[in-house]
């Protein structure tokens, strides 16, 4: 079951293996459907890898424990679903403000509240963006295959470390429970690079200094080494001390958003499928991108010029890619398992006055290719 090679596995299993391949050696979590296989894989695999699994009393403490473990130098992650993701928002904000890298897997299920625990949904797109209070940037990736689950888990850690930020791996129950072929490839050294180490002397070190070159943030050494420092969720200066002056508060909040937004070109990735000559485009992600891809294949068989833009990065939102697409098609349709959370973002970018339609399904079932095609039929008639 373990190690490299070709497997027939579920999305949940692949997420866990991707995390281990990325060097994750700390997991704290609380069991919840439909993500529990990730916790089970962590409990099974981490002892043998020299890592640590701890099951916490709730998702508040799970999120806190991974943030603490990361500050002590471990690549750390947790996995949950909607109700748990709601509880994690407080300390996800701590990771944002303290600029502590970590990965939070949210296997989305039908909500609000307990909702339908085993049914897929994509209703947490906006929660991933704005769930914790206050202005900040965030990175969220959306896998649509088991291979994506593995690859994006690796990438999530890479982005988290590079930008010193929490990264949300926004999976869904359909992709997480899906079993298909996956290659547990060996990631490149660059993909699993460890945290950079400060080059300055301990007395010169400022844990929240903004790197003038990268315009990101100072490297974070682990607690216990030569560097003695303070991490805080309160407004702070570059040293980690109190920094509530208006000028400093303004600087920090703009930095937390800017370090993500300024670097969107190296974060955002999309997939283009049959878009070269497309007259109409689907824009989708996660399990709904699979339905969309099938719809495109079906349409192409019938000679219709339909294509798909799959958003594998949801946050920061692929503004440039979407705007460029909208500029050259007659219309766009956004299939998603919610009432239009990504569609709203697409409409924000519609400077071209073309029809932008949603296919919004919230009944706990997947969107069928047939439904997509019938909406297109009507729209393009």
């Amino acid at each position: 079951m373990n190690g490299q090679g070709i497997r027939f596995a579920s999305g949940n299993e692949a997420i866990a293996e991707g995390a281990f391949a990325a060097g994750a050696r700390f997991y704290a979590g609380y069991p919840i459907t439909p993500s529990s296989e990730i916790a089970e894989a962590a409990a099974r695999r981490l002892p043998g890898l020299g890592g640590m699994y701890v099951q916490m009393e709730d998702e508040l403490s799970s999120m806190a424990a991974i943030v603490g473990a990361s500050a002590a130098g471990k690549k750390a992650f947790t996995a949950t679903s909607g109700p748990g993701f709601s509880l994690m928002q407080e300390n996800l904000g701590m990771a944002v403000m303290g600029e502590i890298p970590c990965v939070v897997v949210n296997v989305q299920r039908s909500g609000p509240s307990t909702g339908m625990a085993t049914k897929p949904a994509q209703g947490d797109v906006m929660q991933a963006r704005w769930g914790t209070h206050g202005d900040h940037g965030i990175i969220a990736l959306a896998p649509s295959s088991v291979q994506d689950c593995y690859d994006f888990a690796i990438r999530a850690f890479s982005l988290a470390e590079r930008f010193r930020t929490p990264v949300v791996l926004l999976a869904d129950a359909a992709v997480a429970k899906l079993k298909e072929r996956v290659e547990y490839r060996t990631p490149s050294a660059e993909e699993i690079a460890g945290r950079p180490f400060p080059s300055c002397t301990p007395d010169q070190f400022s844990p929240f200094a903004v790197d003038p070159e990268e315009r990101v943030i100072a490297p974070l050494p682990p607690f216990g080494g030569e560097y003695v420092f303070r991490i805080t969720g309160s407004m702070h200066n570059e040293k980690g001390g109190q920094g509530a002056s208006p000028a400093n508060a303004d600087r920090v909040i703009r930095h937390l958003t800017g370090k993500i937004e300024r670097n969107r070109s190296s974060i955002v990735r999309v997939r283009e499928y049959c878009l070269e000559d497309a007259e109409w485009a689907l824009i989708s992600y996660g399990c709904s991108a699979r339905s969309s891809r099938a719809a495109v294949r079906e349409a192409r068989k019938n000679g219709r010029a339909l294509g798909l833009l799959e958003l594998t990065t949801l946050w920061p939102f692929p503004d440039d890619e979407v705007r460029s697409l909208l500029s050259r098609v007659k219309g766009a349709v956004i299939p998603e398992l919610n009432l239009g959370q990504a569609a709203g973002e697409v409409r924000r970018l519609n400077d071209f006055d073309i029809p932008v339609l949603g296919i919004n399904q919230v009944n706990g079932t997947l969107i069928s290719p047939k439904e997509i095609l019938s909406v297109l039929e009507e729209a393009s008639a």
Partner: protein, 258 residues
């Protein structure tokens, strides 16, 4: 060992503290730093984890690594820090509202899980920072800004709670007897596993004024005759989580490689 003193761990440039005159927090801070000095703790290998509330400011004055987290979750952050790097000495600074009310669930599970942490809870029987509302330790009948007719609930006996939840080391002291308090904290730091030390402390600004406008001195005197038991209340050998997990993992790796 060269003679370290509490001042070796104090960030003197940040003094005076932000705490009110008559507050006991400064006394607890000194007791903790004295315990650090007596044990000769390496400041690079020590992390002070704090929560939110008046006592949550304490790490501002401690010259070790520090992690200032969210309200009530200090023990959970500390659990991650300690389990990720077992070489660290992790001290968790919480108040009664922070550590025992909003964070009550984390407290009992930390005591049960028995990660090697030392929790120092300053109990002043109310939420000082937000204006003196009642907390989970406010005694029945007390006046607070949210129990003006007298508090109708009973307060927790935190040491009884921590002991019942499984903590191997439980102790209670007061800021009226700082030397004894430092010794209790030192005992907690020396004990491997989850140590719980409660420091009873006055909040003259809120709790004192609401309950008879006593002077800080009178409040200190009263602490000495608290009906709550003082001293080391539980002290027992219990293998901590990290040690037990490491042994289990070692077995797994040996079996896995054979």
């Amino acid at each position: 060992m060269n003679q370290l003193t509490y001042r070796d761990y104090l960030v003197e440039s940040r003094l005076p503290t932000i705490w009110c005159p008559g507050c006991g927090n400064g006394i607890v801070l000194k007791a903790i730093l004295k315990a650090f000095a007596d044990l000769g703790l390496d400041r690079k290998k020590t992390v002070a984890v704090s929560g939110i509330g008046c006592w949550g400011w304490a790490d501002d004055y401690i010259d070790t690594n520090a992690f200032h987290g969210t309200h009530g979750r200090a023990l959970a952050f500390a659990t991650g820090i300690k389990l990720a790097n077992p070489e660290l000495t992790v001290v968790v600074l919480m108040g009664d509202g922070d550590g025992a009310t909003i964070g009550g669930n984390h407290l009992i599970h930390a005591a049960r899980r028995n990660v090697d942490l030392t929790a120092v809870v300053v109990n002043n029987f109310n939420y000082g920072m937000t204006g003196g509302q009642y907390s989970g330790t406010t005694p029945r009948g007390s006046i607070t800004s949210t129990s003006l007719l007298g508090h109708v609930e009973d307060g927790f006996d935190l040491c009884a709670l921590a002991a019942a939840a499984g903590a191997p080391y439980v102790a209670r002291g007061t800021v009226a007897e700082p030397g004894k308090l430092a010794a209790l904290i030192e005992g907690g730091l020396a004990r491997r596993g989850f140590s719980f030390v409660e420091a009873l402390s006055p909040c003259p600004t809120h709790f004192g004024r609401f309950n008879g406008a006593k002077t800080p001195w009178e409040m200190l005197e009263e602490l000495k005759s608290t009906p709550l038991p003082l001293g080391i209340l539980t002290d027992r050998e219990k293998e901590d989580y990290g040690t037990r997990y490491a042994r289990t993992a070692e077995r797994e790796r040996e079996e896995g490689s054979s």
